[in-house]
Amino acid sequence: MIETQGLTKQYGQSTVVDHLSLSVAEGELLVLLGASGSGKTTTLKMVNRLIEPTSGRVLIDGEDAGTLDPHELRRKIGYVFQRIGLFPHMTVGENVAVTLTLLGWDSTRAAARVAELLELVELDASFAHRQPSELSGGQQQRIGVARALAASPRLMLLDEPFGALDPLTRDRLQQSFLRIRRQLKLTAIFVTHDMVEALVIGDRIGVMHDGRLVQIGTPAELLQFPADDYVRQLMNTPKRQAALVDGFLEARAK
């Protein structure tokens, strides 16, 4: 459903995304995993043209995204920002409905959709009338997801949506997201630098390093056949951390 061909972004001399080619099948969830600064956000933004690529192209259902109207393209793709980006001058309900207003929905229909979406992200309908500043971080993230889902997009781009949350809340939100994804049969690219999250959520994982896609495959493939040392180390981090915890517990037990 979505394919990038030789996608490249340069800022002056530095190449932040380097000939990146990948494809995501209908209904698939691809995780982009990589260290800070590896070019994940830049890649994601080139898909919905928040950033124009220096070279290469993005195909959506076989159509070159560069030839589509960028505003309409973005309205059809749900985007959850790394920094959430709820509008502080709008209520939660207005934030969720913002794309719907752009698409010309009337207010009763939009309000019904907002109620539906709040239920989907497991928030009470009364949240619609609150201000974003009155929500906790986890609640704001749920609203960010609800806003991205408002216009029933077939494609979702999520940029570290649960990055800044405590482990328990993150775990709950991951579960909610997996349920929503199955329910709506979403196609999605999900950016994270958290190995465990990648394993839990992804159908496939693409590992980025210094702007290049170093390996792409299912979690099992990556764990079994890492393409290079970097991927191996990365894949080992959960095990290493688990071993550390085990060692600590054993030491306490003695």
């Binding site: 919905n48 928040l50 505003h71 309409e72 393209l73 973005r74 309205r75 059809k76 985007y79 920002f81 920094r83 980006g85 709820l86 509008f87 502080p88 001058h89 913002v98 794309t99 752009l102 806003r147």
Partner: protein, 509 residues
Amino acid sequence: MSEQLALLPAYLTAHLQLTLFALLAGSAFSIPAGIVIARARRLERPVLAVASVIQTIPSLALLAIMVPALAALGMRSIGFLPAFIGLTLYSVLPILRNTVTGLSGLDPAMIEAARGVGMTRNQQLWRVEIPLAMPVILAGLRTSTVWTVGIATLSTPVGATSLGNYIFAGLQTRNLNAVLVGCIASAVLALVLDGLVRALGGALLSRRRAPLIAVLASLAMLYAYSGVTFVRGLRGASADRVVVGAKTFTEQYILSDIMAGRIGAATGASVEVVSSLGSTVAFDALLSGEIDVYVEYSGTIWATIMKRASAGVDRAGVLEEVGRFLADEHGVELVGGLGFENAYALAMTRRQAESLRVGRISDLVPHAPRLSIGGDYEFFDRAEWASVRDSYGLAFAEKRTMDPSLMYQAVASNQIDVISAFSTDGRIVALDLVVIEDDRRAIPPYDAVILVGPRLRRERPDVVAALKTLTGTIGADQMRRMNLAVDQDGATPAAVAQEFLRSRPISER
């Protein structure tokens, strides 16, 4: 006090008109301009620089500059228009600057989110950028509002009525009540308008409908009131109304009231007095027809308009030449002299004049090196001083520029020996000063003369005839006493004028 308060509705309404219209025009320019600049950042520096330069021009000067500027363009150069334009220019900077900083200081994440959900450039602007920058823009509007209300009091010298009429006339005639009423009224107006803008911001932020409607309705009512009264004022300015002008000092206030009273009584014409005109504004206003009549001084025309040398001319000759010049060059009629001169003169205390045996300036010359002289703000820069100094060879030990009111006190308490005085100043009598005779006629004569503009001269011979009844009726002594009644005894110019007219009914002639 009550007669001051009776003027309040007219002054306040005029002040409100100026302020509200200027703020509307200022915002209508600044907010869109700010939006454009925030997008085309290249424009930011030059535009803000121009706006800042305008702001550094002293406000009184900015308003005064409008008069010749408009005249050069052939537009109405005194009254509402110059004040309105000056105030509008002044209101621009705070709104413009805050619009630009409000918009360009937005969190980039907000702009990105707006783009990310699929907003077009315009939707971004109206749905995200402007609402988020609104508190900053409104803060600029509040600053402008308070400034404009305050600076509008300086519209008086360019011929626009405002609460400044209280302040200018009050300061000149030492009527503290008037000054107080003017200051309090403009402070209250500033607070009220500022409160309204703040309430508007609060209502926009809270996004509740009821307060927003209330604020907008109050603003709409204020604008409707100003608009309606303004239009009515324009209509009321009918052709047969006679407008009497006055410069900014006591004598002029009294004389304009005397002329207005005499015209009204003799012809039944409706008369309006436009007071506190800047000194050079008055003659321009007469030529452009914005005032019909005012009192000028022959020497002023002689020296500043005809640019003739000041020394060695005689009173009747100057009067005659000035009259001919005005009629030929400008179509202005010099109706006649009122009967006194108000010239620059040197004055000293009677005691000192007697002990030094000084009656004429020539007598002063040998004492001058041991004496000090004080002059008002312009005296030492004027042609009259150069002429006096050079024709007598005066060399004072010390020369000091002072505020006129302090200057009189200083000479009375012997802190200074000689001062530059106006010969009809009431304080000459009150402080027992003597005017030293200009025996070599170094200073040109300053006969107070009634000037009538071209329109009135053509269309209302009856009014000109009524004014003629005033010629030769006021002597220098009487003028001094009338000035003193206002300056020292606290009478209003209107009351003094009435008293004068009662004592000299037209039938006497």
